[in-house]
Chain length 334, copies 2
Amino acid sequence: MPISAYAAKAPKGRLESFTYDAGPLGPREVEVKVTHCGICHSDQAMIDNDWQFSAYPLVPGHEVVGTVAALGADVRGLALGQRVGIGWQCGSCGECEFCRVGHETYCAKERDTIVHHHGGFADRVRADANFAIPLPDGLDSAQAAPLLCAGTTVFTPMLHHGVTANTRAAVVGIGGLGHLAVQFLAQMGCEVTAISSTHDKDDEARGFGATHFIATKGTDELKKAASRFDFILNTVPADLPWGDYLAALRPAGKLVTVGVPASDVKLSAFQLIGQEKSFCGGRTGSPAEIATMFNFAARRGVHAQIEKFPMKDINAAMDRVRTGKMRYRVVLEA
Amino acid sequence: MPISAYAAKAPKGRLESFTYDAGPLGPREVEVKVTHCGICHSDQAMIDNDWQFSAYPLVPGHEVVGTVAALGADVRGLALGQRVGIGWQCGSCGECEFCRVGHETYCAKERDTIVHHHGGFADRVRADANFAIPLPDGLDSAQAAPLLCAGTTVFTPMLHHGVTANTRAAVVGIGGLGHLAVQFLAQMGCEVTAISSTHDKDDEARGFGATHFIATKGTDELKKAASRFDFILNTVPADLPWGDYLAALRPAGKLVTVGVPASDVKLSAFQLIGQEKSFCGGRTGSPAEIATMFNFAARRGVHAQIEKFPMKDINAAMDRVRTGKMRYRVVLEA
């Protein structure tokens, strides 16, 4: 049966009905019936061809939650009807040195859900079975959707950089990613500082678990926070005053960006060397790491704050994302 | 008794005889009779006021090896006549959260041997007893001198970034620092690639333990080394093609610079994010880390390759350093 989807047919295009035949299901693939799909800024970036590797017609959607509708012949460990999530990555070679040790995000043959593949703004979507990650009971499907990209993007750097309860942490940008990052860190037992341009989100950030709040626009609050953090996670896709953020790190501190700034990042080597600081890139996790995040979120009550739209109102939902005013994430419901 | 030294009396000055009274010995200080002192590029930078914090008259010399000549009243654990080394740092507060756990390099009250303090181009030099680090038997005094700055600068990042025998490592710049870095890594059991502008030092680098050699000038050897290294240590104080070096890192790889480039470092955030790479600053170690390095060097036979000059020929020795042609480190002998 053909898959019924919404596609952009050209860069920056509106989303239109689009039907495609996904072909025979591969032996290690699953087909998932979409019940929910989050909208991510990278869906917008892909629609707009910001990164110059979009292919059209382009079906966005890589924060998919649904139920297993069909199983490839060789798939084990998943059952028809089971709730699963699919994120940015939908496949890998399964055989390389990275896949073999559960580092599928490093696979040179990584396949991504909306890159030369049709995503979750649809009634169904395909993925390698390994990338259809079971949802634990107690995790609401709509709230789980944003975890598949926003959530794992902020959670994985915490794993990879050894964040513990005594890490002094800051989150730059209190949006779709940041409001989850603050919750994850607070639930890990950290003292968390939320950093935003203004104090508009001060109360909400404290509600997510932040102990401190820094507003950067027209204040000296960031400069006053010199040598305060072991771990700063930047979620903002903008050119920041990197020197001020490096100064806000404690010795051996790490500034991890998951937001892609418009320009190259300029850093003072002297500033990095003096106290052995690091500037790092962070990204989404492997299936095992996403499963770890799901369990943590369910266990500790980390909830995405979402605005729901019916899937048929996809263009209104996209417009809402483009305004940047949603608090904090938009989720489509089938 | 006044200390007899060689000092630069103004920026870029020749070194001249200079005698000073170091005052009463503090209760936790030691006075060390200098037998050897290495010359480091940062001595030259300090003489020339490159970093804008030099004070004159300036007595350089922060790769000091000698014997304990006088002990402050409260010093324990050192004996008169004992061989010790003094490096870049000569003191710290001893009480802060960093000093208490052996991270004296992070102390906000760090005191440095040639910054507002007179160094080892002299017959004697003072330091906090904690920063006069005993030399193990079997470590030659002249060869130990360069370990006090060049050695610890490259060894400490290996400790702090968890280098193990299976780390795929590269060293950029085969000079005073680099020739020690190659030896340390090879003796740790790593596969080591030496990277230099030309193949001039190919044979020597292999003699130090390198398995591979990359020449960067007018070749595509670096570009061909894409995704090859877990750990790249840059010892060159110059603006490098950072993008090519980031590309040479494997997933989650780290590019650590201990060389201070002339300009800010420009990095592509996309390149860092895609495979979670890091750009880090590295520096000299704490007294405990220097002691660890001494023991490793003695145990595994890591030898600085040096050119010796009598201390009285200090200006000829400095001229030799300024040419950059010494292989690989200049050491003054009393």
